[in-house]
Amino acid sequence: MNPHQFDIDTLTHTAKEIRGDILRMLEKAGSGHTAGPLGMADIFTALYFNILNHSPEDPLWEERDRVVLSNGHICPVLYSTLARAGYFDLEELKTLRAFGSRLQGHPNRLDLPGIETSAASLGQGLSISVGMALAARLDDEDHKIYALMSDGELQEGSSWEAANAASKWQLDNLIAIVDRNNIQIDGQTEDIFPIEPVRDKFEAFNWTVLEINGNDMAHILQVIESALEMKGQPVCIIAHTTPGKGVSFMEDKHEWHGIAPNRMELMEGLAELGLEEVAY
């Protein structure tokens, strides 16, 4: 059971707080990725505060659902979500990327509770998730594996090796959520190295494919809940998100993929979100 069970209003409010954390963390750190974390804040909130069976007091509880973040560079959203869910103190968010911090520039499983795998090099998380799903099946355990991926990492051939493996073993305890925000560091995915038709590709690999507006809380909950009921195939949820969501001058701008806001941009962002204009 989810320990929080927030309703939609509380989830929406929490996602906004998480966006504020992300902006403050990145401004304080002076480097990092901004657009992706802001875009994925709603999905992370929905998972940790409503959907996941997990236990912040006992991060390695065997029956927990697993969230494998494959594109580790969006870790500010993971760190903020974990802190707000109770895995560690919110104060620690101020140490993102700093010397001696447990909040490494890209996630390190051995440093921080709640991290299922160290990650950053793209195209690896789905394979790890397949291994976890196989282990769960072998042990006759009911927990689910959520593989959170970027759209850009579908350019890695290894992502498709993993997609093939998941369908070979018909892993219906595996749900991949692809952040289809259309941007990568150098520009728009379809200009850089086209990945469409994503839906057709996953269907051709014998996955069930669902699509959501990844910034619509009600829609996120409804579709993930329906995915949990599906049997016989792995499920891919293509989450159409707006990179930089919530801060107008960052939205849909690939330039914001890999940079952090300065103090002025932070304050503008917080104002737009309706949050207290205070830096870390």
Binding site: E116, T117, S118, S127, L138
Partner: protein
């Protein structure tokens, strides 16, 4: 030294990879958390018995090594003890990124077992002769690297690898080779096995070159030169204590391995000795080049991986003492 009495007469011939298959069967019986993965080479890796006994615990991963290594990571992070297997040229060589980030940085309890390493792979030629894998694996933090000397030792190494926590790389050969260690021959990860005592020179070897070193020592002995022979099956963590001890005792060290000289076991030995007991060294290995097709014996001869070449190196180093 507890070696087979028929060591130099008519030893049984068996590939090290066969010992791996036996080790996996023993492990499979002992611990249900042991699982195996293979990238379309399960026959070559001698996994047939494991697969027939525990089909649910074998994951045929197809020709997709990168995915296989990371599936092993996912299994390990869920409490399994996975052995991911292939030919050395495909894994670890193709899958370095997966091994670096997901296996080692995660400190995942993944065992990587590679067969068909070294020049003795033979007719398949250069593409299939992994000569760089020791160097590439031993440079990774948290990785342990083991190159067993014969089939019996391979079985022991396989079982021992499962008993320690964290990443291990195991390296095997394709071709039949003398079996001369016995049930009673000691094997401990990280501990050099001293097979012969001599005061004039120490020969440090791994894999099939250990037997060549024993042959070389016999030959040298006929001419009044007494060599110590050390089976350095664990290249990482290397047994620095024993290396320093024999370097002090013998005053000269020859190393021999079926791998590039650059970055291999000889380099690992040199890294230890240069900081402590800086004696003259000669390194025998592949001289910064690719292999080629040919029969195993022909290639070992051409590339100097023979007892005769070890004898030659010993004579050379004795002049530098």
């Amino acid at each position: 030294m507890k070696l087979a009495p028929n060591l130099f007469t008519n030893p049984e011939m068996k590939a090290t990879r066969a010992g791996f298959g036996e080790g996996m069967t023993a492990l499979g019986e002992a611990d249900e958390n042991i699982v195996a993965l293979c990238a379309d080479l399960s026959g070559s890796l001698k996994l047939g018995d494991f697969i027939s006994k525990w089909p649910d615990r074998f994951f045929q991963s197809g020709v997709a090594e990168q995915n296989m290594v990371n599936m092993a990571v996912g299994l390990a992070l869920s409490g399994k003890i996975p052995f991911a297997t292939s030919f050395g040229v495909f894994m670890p060589m193709r899958t370095l990124d997966q091994i670096r980030i997901s296996v080692c940085y995660n400190n995942a309890n993944v065992k990587l077992a590679a067969s068909h390493t070294g020049i003795s792979v033979g007719p398949d030629g250069a593409t299939h002769q992994a000569l760089e894998d020791i160097a590439v694996m031993r440079v990774l933090p948290k990785m342990k690297v083991i190159v067993p000397a014969d089939a019996n030792e391979t079985k022991k190494a396989t079982i021992s690898a499962a008993k320690i926590s964290g990443p291990v790389y195991l390296r095997f050969g394709r071709q039949n080779a003398p079996v001369y260690t016995t049930e009673d021959t000691p094997f401990e990860i990280g501990k050099i096995n001293r097979l012969r005592d001599g005061k004039d020179v120490a020969i440090v070897a791994c894999g099939v070159m250990v037997y060549e070193s024993l042959l070389a020592a016999e030959e040298l002995s006929k001419n009044g030169i007494e060599a110590s022979v050390l089976n350095c099956h664990t290249i990482k963590p290397i047994d620095a204590e024993t290396l320093i001890e024999v370097a002090k005792e013998c005053g000269a060290v020859v190393t021999a391995e079926e791998h590039q000289k650059i970055g291999g076991m000889g380099s690992a030995v040199a890294e230890v000795l240069v900081e402590s007991e800086n004696v003259p060294m000669e390194l025998i290995g592949i001289e910064d080049r690719f292999g080629e097709s040919g029969e195993s014996g022909e290639l070992m001869e051409k590339y100097g991986l023979t007892s005769a070449n070890i004898v030659k190196s010993v004579r050379k180093i004795l002049k530098r003492k």
